[in-house]
Amino acid sequence: MFTVFEKFADLVAYSLFGLQAETRLGESVHFFFYDTTKIIFLLSVMIFFISIIRSYFPPEKTKKLLSNYRKITGHIMASLLGVVTPFCSCSSVPIFIGFVESGIPLGITFSFLITSPIVNEVALVMLYTIFGWKIGTLYLASGILVGIVGGIVIEALGMEKQVEEYVYQISAGESEVEELEWNDRINFAKAEVKEIVSRVWKYVIIGIGIGAAIHGYAPAELLAEYAGPNNPLSVIAAVIVGIPLYANAVGTIPIVEALMGKGVALGTALSFMMATTALSLPAVVILRKVIKPKLITVFVTVVGVSIIGVGYMFNFIM
């Protein structure tokens, strides 16, 4: 399926640049052109179809659905809906206010807010195509699990006082959800492709650039020794390094792919990816508008610890 991109990369790296296939530079350049063309093509196709599915789940609908569930079912539903409901990090505050104001418990709101960025469906589709269905499904399941567990812990801690007071005083108005026709959904999907690709292509290129450098130059023995399955601390280190970093999941996948080619353990690589997407400085700054520092700390700790757990689970079973 990807031979077109392979041939294109051959052409650029070996014919146009005149590089040798067996050299480090040749290998890196080839990997770079192969991966950028392949990933940007796949992304465009996948975002289109995913956006059609997403158009059926606006946040307003999710809110209505969720207000029917309590306790564990609520956490499970919130986490599952987090997978399909579209929202960008700049919408997390209105979503948070909308959920809490309509009486959805805080922990269930968090189950949604945690899973949503981790299981970015675009990243998920890329995981499926690059690493296969087994790893893709495991990532999906563990992302949902992190959301459920994180939300339950936050609920159990009774953090309602740690929400900024004004949130409870707001009475959010109801606004109509527009009825979409097929035509509207297709236009929405097209616009999403344009918007997302124009936003993430930089991350893809930077990610693949770093991946390509790792591919050609990183010392495999060293990485396998320090970040391989035999170093028990590697998962913790990967998560701590990943937390403050903000990266698009799409951009980190090529890095993860290259690192794994060099012997880095799967769990270590994936928990790094989860940490960069689920927790980041910009996301925390936005959330600070609605929740107090104590709950921020709890949120980061709970999610961080859950991701570390997932990393160990992956390293253990793969």
């Binding site: 960008c88 909308g98 104001e101 616009a191 609605v290």
Partner: protein, 76 residues
């Protein structure tokens, strides 16, 4: 007529405001474009996904950047 752009000031909100401006210019109506960037006010308008556009206080399209043509239709 008053056009309201709801959004915390991210890139999409700027694009939406630009589209609204173009739409107003193209059909030549008297309209004022107001930006609402405060999260509280956005939430109070019942909006959960930004950017959104409202005409005379009524939210019309949310969660995506409405095109110039769509806005023209709203204004007509």
């Amino acid at each position: 007529m008053e056009i309201t752009i709801y959004g915390p000031g991210c890139k999409n909100c700027v694009n939406l405001a630009d589209n609204a401006k173009k739409a107003v210019e193209e059909i030549g109506v008297e309209a004022e474009i107001v930006k609402i960037e405060d999260m509280k006010e956005i939430a109070m308008a019942g909006i959960m996904s930004t950017p959104a556009i409202g005409i005379d206080g009524e939210v019309k399209i949310k969660g995506r950047v409405a095109s110039v043509d769509e806005i023209k239709e709203l204004l007509a």
